[in-house]
């Protein structure tokens, strides 16, 4: 099957800054795909390259197998939900939703019907006559979503779609976006810096650092089997054991990741002093200084929590230690 979006050695440099640096990527036709990374890692530039707002400095981009490297945004079968929603303030909600159909030249009754249908899809029936300024943040985002979906794109791009919403609304929208994507069966590509969001929503995740992709895989893969120390640390704040230490413990000379929840208190190969405690509700996280590294340990609620400065010994199952590539990228 032809992938929805393909990147072939794509770079985008801004002067000296390599925002995107030699990225190869394939996004499937019906996939919910997350571009995950810290700010400045190139994930948003990648999204803008798909939308056509940026042109690659090198490499080429194909959308459904057709080269789109030099295609202007208004000719691409993709639509974007912007981080700031970018609703047109001088148009009401319905005219915002119908904007794409209006510039395409659809007749007024047809585009009104389509706009109302799209607004119903995002649960905003009856809001057509309001101005964007009269809506809440969550409602504005739904309008932005309806405005993009009314064009029946083959790929929907979402730039930090949940960033501006409060926690409760964010969780609700996560579920709604997911079911919307299943219902429509089109590719959703979304940018986020929130690993929890990426893991819970996406079918596959690409982890970005400094303009390069560190790892592409299912949420389980990037969480359980990080390829590089960066991925281990960024996706779920795993402990990264340096190669020297791993060599001493196992004889294998590579860095390894060790999840905080996989570590138990008890007789084991490492011991150190407790330097910090943080109560997280369902669990308590303690930090244990073992020589020159500090390990995060997640203790379930029913476990006794050691006091600060107490010396503890740490243990884990052999299989919890995951070997990684030596270097990033």
């Amino acid at each position: 099957m032809t992938p929805a979006v393909s990147f072939f050695g794509v770079s985008r440099h801004f002067g000296e800054v390599r925002a995107v640096d030699g990225v190869d990527l394939e996004i499937g036709a019906g996939e919910f795909f997350a571009l995950l990374g810290p700010s400045g890692s190139g994930k948003t530039t990648c999204l803008r390259l798909i939308a056509g707002f940026e042109k690659p400095t090198a490499g080429s981009i194909a959308i459904f197998g057709e080269d789109a490297t030099d295609t202007p945004p208004y000719r691409r079968p993709v639509n974007t939900v912007f981080q700031d929603y970018a609703l047109f303030p001088h148009l009401n909600v319905r005219d915002n939703a119908a904007y794409g159909l209006m510039v395409r030249g659809d007749a007024k009754p047809a585009r009104r019907a389509a706009a109302d249908e799209a607004l119903a899809l995002v649960a905003l029936e009856g809001y057509g006559h309001r101005k964007p300024s009269e809506l809440s943040g969550g409602q504005r985002q739904r309008v932005a979503l309806a405005r993009a979906l009314v064009m029946q794109p083959k790929v929907l791009l979402l730039d930090e779609p949940l960033g501006a919403l409060d926690l409760k609304l964010r969780e609700q929208m996560q579920g709604e976006l997911k079911s919307l994507q299943r219902q429509l069966g089109i590719a959703f590509v979304f940018v986020t810096h929130d690993q929890g969001e990426a893991l819970s929503m996406a079918d596959r995740v690409a982890v970005f650092s400094e303009g390069r992709i560190q790892q592409v895989g299912s949420p389980e893969e990037v969480y359980d089997r990080p390829k590089t120390p960066f991925v281990a640390d960024f996706v779920g704040a795993s402990n990264v054991l340096p190669a020297g230490l791993v060599a001493r413990l196992t004889g294998q000379d590579t860095p390894a990741s060790l999840r905080p929840e996989a570590i138990r208190l008890g007789d084991g190969p490492l011991s150190g002093t407790v330097v910090a405690q943080a109560f997280l509700g369902a669990a308590t996280r303690i930090e244990v200084a073992c020589g020159d590294i500090t390990l995060k340990v997640l203790l379930p609620k029913d476990m006794a929590v050691p006091d600060a400065n107490e010396t503890v010994s740490l243990t884990w199952d052999e299989s919890a230690l995951h070997m990684m590539n030596r270097t990033d990228g």
Partner: protein, 305 residues
């Protein structure tokens, strides 16, 4: 601690924010209320009096006779001429200013932004009279423009243009075209700056969104940029329109001998001593602006504010 941070006056005012507000607002309100609005109403009142034709004394009885005077052919011509000139200057200023403002708002950064502001503001720093007289020299028969046309062997173009009735004349400096060009030059900054300010507030993502939804650049201009720039264009046109309607120096120095409203007001209140008629003339721009703003509001010019 007895340092400067402990000031009894600041503390007292902090506890009574309304007193502070009153102290700040009262002087400008007095100025606006008494000096400005007061004199405006005195002017309005004058226009409802009339002048005794024989004695030349003002008759302080309410009458609409003075407004009737405005409809007399020679006076009415002045009104039409002035409004037409103000409208032409406003439309031309908007057309010339928009690309400049657009460039400044969307593309100019850092040093180029400074160059833009300097370029727009610099003419405002020199005397208005100096600028108008320089234009007279530029447009005169022996002026730079004539010389340029001759050097390029295009003198016939200029002559053909000057032969056109109404806009032409003996030379550009005594034609309506000359008056128009000087007005356009002098008021242009007042059009550029508000348009630039309104374009500055349009986030780039909004233009990207329009393109993303399939709009070609020309469609984005028409359906997004222009509607959002409209409050700025209207604000700029208020300046260019009212400044042109009230000006009496530019048409005096550059242009034909036919008068505009400003000159009429100047003459009627001065040499002719007909204060009521001068006041009635002065009311016209106020009424025209009122109508203009009402129409602009109805057309939705302020919806994006």
């Amino acid at each position: 601690m007895a340092d400067a941070a402990h000031s009894p006056v600041s503390d007292a005012l902090w506890r009574r924010p309304r007193l502070l507000l009153a102290l700040l607002v009262t002087p400008p309100l007095l100025w606006l209320g008494i000096v400005y609005l007061g004199s405006l109403f005195a002017l309005l009142a004058q226009s409802f009096f009339s002048i005794d034709e024989f004695s030349g004394l003002i008759n302080y009885e309410f009458t609409l006779k003075t407004y009737g005077e405005l409809l007399r052919a020679s006076n009415f011509d002045i009104l039409l001429r002035t409004i037409a000139m103000a409208a032409a200057v406003t439309v031309a200023a908007a057309i010339v200013a928009f690309p400049i403002a657009y460039y400044a708002a969307r593309y100019a950064r850092g040093r180029w932004k400074a160059v833009f502001y300097l370029g727009v503001m610099l003419p405002l720093w020199s005397s208005y009279l100096v600028k108008v007289y320089s234009w007279k020299l530029i447009l005169a028969k022996e002026g730079i423009l004539n010389w340029l046309f001759e050097t390029l062997h295009l003198a016939w173009v200029l002559e053909a243009y000057l032969a056109i009735p109404v806009v032409g004349g003996n030379s550009l400096s005594v034609s309506w075209t000359g008056t128009f060009l000087v007005f356009l030059y002098v008021w242009l900054p007042f059009m550029i700056l508000p348009i630039q300010a309104s374009l500055e507030r349009v986030p780039p993502s909004m233009l990207e969104a329009s393109g993303d939804l399939g709009a070609r650049p020309a469609q984005t201009l028409r359906h997004v940029i222009l509607p959002l720039a409209l409050p700025g264009i209207v604000a700029g046109s208020i300046f260019t329109f009212s400044l042109t309607m009230g000006d009496y120096i530019i048409p005096q120095i550059v242009g034909t001998s036919a008068r505009m409203i400003g000159q009429a007001v100047y003459q009627f209140q001065g040499t002719a001593g007909n204060i009521p008629l001068a006041a009635a003339f002065a009311v016209v721009p106020i009424v025209v602006m009122g109508i203009y703003l009402t129409l602009a509001k109805r057309a939705g010019a302020f919806d994006a504010l």
